[in-house]
């Protein structure tokens, strides 16, 4: 069987073998490995450690009387502690990792094989995404648990904020000393192809392209262009000349932004512009986290600035962080050329001296 080509489209068949999706789906329903047996029965000391670490003050986990008052027969284990009872411990995990690092071959479980298939296809990173637990009954001291796990689902290729990848859902079934099911758990991870940092050479190569090494040095993706009409292009032309222009009715002098063909005040179609002082205050703002578009850095502060002339406009603010941005902050305009054609106003907080009356119009240097 041929090796899968990591650069190939993950959904396409590799020559001489089944498609990646076909191989992934063949794992669904398989056991992930041997049964997990709890090394110790459910016990009060471990419950104490857990609630201490979690800061959970619910008395039903440690106080018999409180537990009975709440309708239980006695103390119960915190439900979300479920998986803790079957954890194999740090040393066992480390030994397995070290053995793998030394190249010691162990018979791979279906789970190991599934991970290997995804690693080969370039989905080398992993992150746990979510976990659903369903409880049949509360666990009580003395319960001895076992858990079997099966591969419940493998998704098709998904685009995520972290990169392209496949979600893998594992289903664990917990049974007690009487072989009764006490809980089930769905645990989902994302195996993904790590996204190179924005602006890097790798980032320029679209997913599925054959070569990253020969690609020319990537330019940063451009910001979205404004659609320019006869009504609004003056503003962007002004920005290129480092002027913040406001449309003004030539008849009655009313300022307006965003620009319009005519004055709502006097119905005149004649207009000119005035150059704003560039001073204003943050009237409102947002901090963008998702989705992340490659042209921008995140978290991205976008503000609605009220100019001292009275109009408002949306623009970015630099020299400010998501923690320091605030409504009412005094700002002063500057300009930044983002590419050959697009220059935009970018506001900065006014330094203290300027805020206290120095109307020099200088922007803060940082």
């Amino acid at each position: 069987m041929s090796e899968p080509d990591p650069a190939a489209d993950a959904s396409a068949s590799t020559e001489g073998g089944p498609s990646l999706d076909g191989r992934l789906q063949s794992f669904v329903g398989l056991s992930t490995g041997p049964t997990h047996r709890a090394p110790d029965p459910v016990n009060l000391p471990m419950i104490r450690h857990w609630i201490e670490a979690m800061g959970d003050r619910n008395p039903v986990y440690v106080d018999e009387e409180a537990a009975r008052a709440a309708g239980f027969a006695g103390i119960i284990a915190p439900p979300t502690m479920l998986q803790a009872w079957i954890m194999r411990g740090l040393r066992t995990s480390q030994e397995a990792d070290e053995a793998r690092a030394r190249g010691v071959e162990t018979p791979g479980s279906p789970n190991d094989q599934l991970m290997a298939v995804l690693d080969e296809a370039g989905f080398t990173s992993v992150v746990a995404t979510n976990c659903d637990q369903h409880y049949e009954r509360p666990l009580v001291p003395g319960d001895r648990l076992e858990a079997t796990s099966t591969i419940d689902a493998v998704s098709g290729e998904k685009k995520t904020g972290l990169g392209v990848g496949h979600f893998i859902t594992t289903r664990l079934e917990f049974t007690d000393q009487d072989d009764q099911v006490v809980a089930t758990m769905l645990f989902r991870i994302l195996k993904f192809r790590p996204r190179p940092p924005a602006g890097s050479r790798e980032a320029a190569a679209a997913p599925g392209t054959q070569s990253t090494l020969q690609a020319p040095p990537a330019e940063r993706p451009k910001r979205p262009r404004p659609a320019l009409t006869q009504d609004n292009s003056f503003f962007f032309e002004g920005a290129r000349q480092h002027k913040l222009l406001i449309q003004r009715c030539a008849e009655c002098g009313t300022l307006r932004h965003p620009p319009r063909p005519s004055c709502a005040n006097c119905r005149s179609f004649d207009w000119d512009t005035v150059t704003a002082s560039g001073r204003g205050t943050i009237y409102s703002y947002v901090v963008n986290h998702y989705p992340q578009v490659p042209a921008f850095d995140y978290p991205l502060v976008v503000a609605l600035v009220e100019l001292e002339e009275g109009t408002r406009l949306v623009a970015n603010v630099s020299g400010i962080t998501p923690d320091t941005v605030a409504i009412g902050t005094a700002v002063q305009v500057g300009f930044e050329a983002f590419d050959d054609v697009l220059t935009l106003p970018v506001f900065r907080p006014v330094v203290a001296s300027a805020a206290s009356g120095d109307a020099s119009g200088e922007t803060r240097k940082s």
Binding site: R223, P224, R225, P226, A227, L228, T229, D231, N232, F236, H257, P258, Y283, S284, Y285, V286, V287, N288, H289, Y290, P291, V293, A295, F296, P299, L300, V302, L304, T311, R312, L313, V314, A315, N316, P322, I327, F338, L342, L344
Partner: protein, 395 residues
């Protein structure tokens, strides 16, 4: 404008509702979703496709009326109309249908909306790929997209930040809307988040999408279709089902109205479009907020639910943060809202699934039925020119 009475109020009715399942990947064409929804709505109404002579949808819908007509064997159409401004069109589809019926232009009008909004073109992905062909609508994005303000969540968040600042409402107050929606979805088997309620703590812990909005302040994205059938009340009384009377229907755009970015007029703490709709709904129906037993308030993002409670007069300006406390907007509260789970909990069907829930509440057939519903209020998309409805029982 004349608000005394709209001639269709009290004389027209919704007689059928139908929807596909709500999913993240329908696996079918948008047209097929639309046809399935219309087919189900007509079966629900007990009306044959050949009797349909009018159709209304959103201008953003991709499914032409004639495609649906051919698919279901409808005959001649005498009325077809499309409404603009995204989710603001929802309740206006019913209004236009009612106007057509009342004026005699059509007898039976189907309103529909269907899309693969999750598996196909996702609105939440933003407008960064919008080709800047210069016209008044694309030029509007010139004031936002180059600065990275690209998505509906971001556009709403800008107003919401100011609202929180001015009114003293907090992210937790927004969260109470999400908790109520998800509580209702948890008991609605058609809801995507069936049996998945959330706590306020989970709302607070969910990641930022755009501050001040957490993930759980944002509606889901959905594949699906929803249709409704409108005819005269007289005809409705001869049909097998319970007529749901259109007691008021209105469209509204506010002063200084922009498309999701009305940032330049007033204080960012109101919705001019909903103020217009509210005034018309109350004046033309003769009802007041106290007459409403349950409401479906458009919930693409939680903040505008608070705004709507204020604009509709369910509470005073700046008081929504108190109104939503203590389960008041949940089943059993003073005004249960979004009993289907809303667009956060059931499905994002551009608000059309909310009209269907209003119909079920008046029929008495909701899975989360509010007792003794005489009048249910439904709104359409906010932040854009919008619409609203009051539905009531036939007396």
């Amino acid at each position: 404008m004349s608000d005394a009475r709209h001639s269709f109020t009290g004389n027209t009715a919704i007689v059928g509702i139908g929807a596909t399942e709500f999913s993240k990947e329908s696996g079918r064409s948008e047209l097929r979703l639309a046809v399935e929804a219309v087919d189900l709505a007509l079966r629900d109404a007990g009306i044959e496709p050949g009797e349909v002579d009018g159709m209304v949808t959103f201008s953003s819908d991709t499914n032409p009326e004639i495609e649906i007509a051919r698919s279901l064997g409808m005959g001649e159409l005498t009325f077809f109309s499309r409404i603009h401004y995204g989710g603001g069109a929802g309740c206006a589809t019913i209004q236009q249908a009612a106007m057509a019926v009342q004026s005699g232009v059509a007898d039976v009008v189907v309103c529909y909306r269907a899309f693969n909004e999750r598996s196909g073109n996702r609105f939440g992905a933003g407008v960064q790929n919008r080709p800047p062909a210069p016209n008044a609508e694309t030029a509007n994005f010139a004031w936002y997209a180059p600065f990275g303000l690209l998505t509906p969540a971001q556009w709403v968040a800008m107003a919401a930040q100011r609202y929180l600042h001015v009114t003293g409402a907090t992210s937790e107050d927004l969260g109470r809307v999400a908790v109520a929606d998800r509580k209702h979805a948890a008991t609605n088997p058609k809801a995507w988040f069936y049996e998945k309620p959330i706590t306020l703590e989970e709302h607070q812990a969910s990641r930022w999408i755009v501050e001040p909005l957490h993930l759980l302040d944002c509606c889901q994205e959905t594949d699906g279709g929803q249709a409704l059938v409108v005819t005269s009340l007289e005809r409705a009384r001869d049909l097998p089902g319970t007529p749901v009377v259109i007691e008021a229907a209105a469209q509204g755009a506010g002063p200084g109205q922009e498309m999701m970015t009305s940032y330049y007029y007033d204080d960012l703490c109101g919705l001019g479009e909903m103020a217009s709709v509210a005034r018309q709904l109350w004046q033309t129906s003769g009802l007041s907020p106290a007459d409403i037993q349950t409401a479906v308030l458009y919930d693409h993002f939680t903040p505008y639910v608070l705004y709507q409670l204020e604009e509709l007069g369910f509470c005073g300006k700046g008081e929504a943060k108190d109104f939503v406390k203590d389960g008041n907007i949940e089943l059993g509260g003073g005004l249960p809202i979004n009993t289907h789970g809303g667009q956060l909990g059931e499905a994002y069907l551009h608000g059309m699934n909310g009209i269907a829930e209003g119909v079920r509440q008046v029929r008495g057939s909701s899975v989360n039925q509010v007792p003794d519903v005489h009048h249910a209020l439904v709104t359409a998309g906010t932040g854009v020119p919008t619409s609203g409805l009051i539905l009531g029982v036939d007396r």
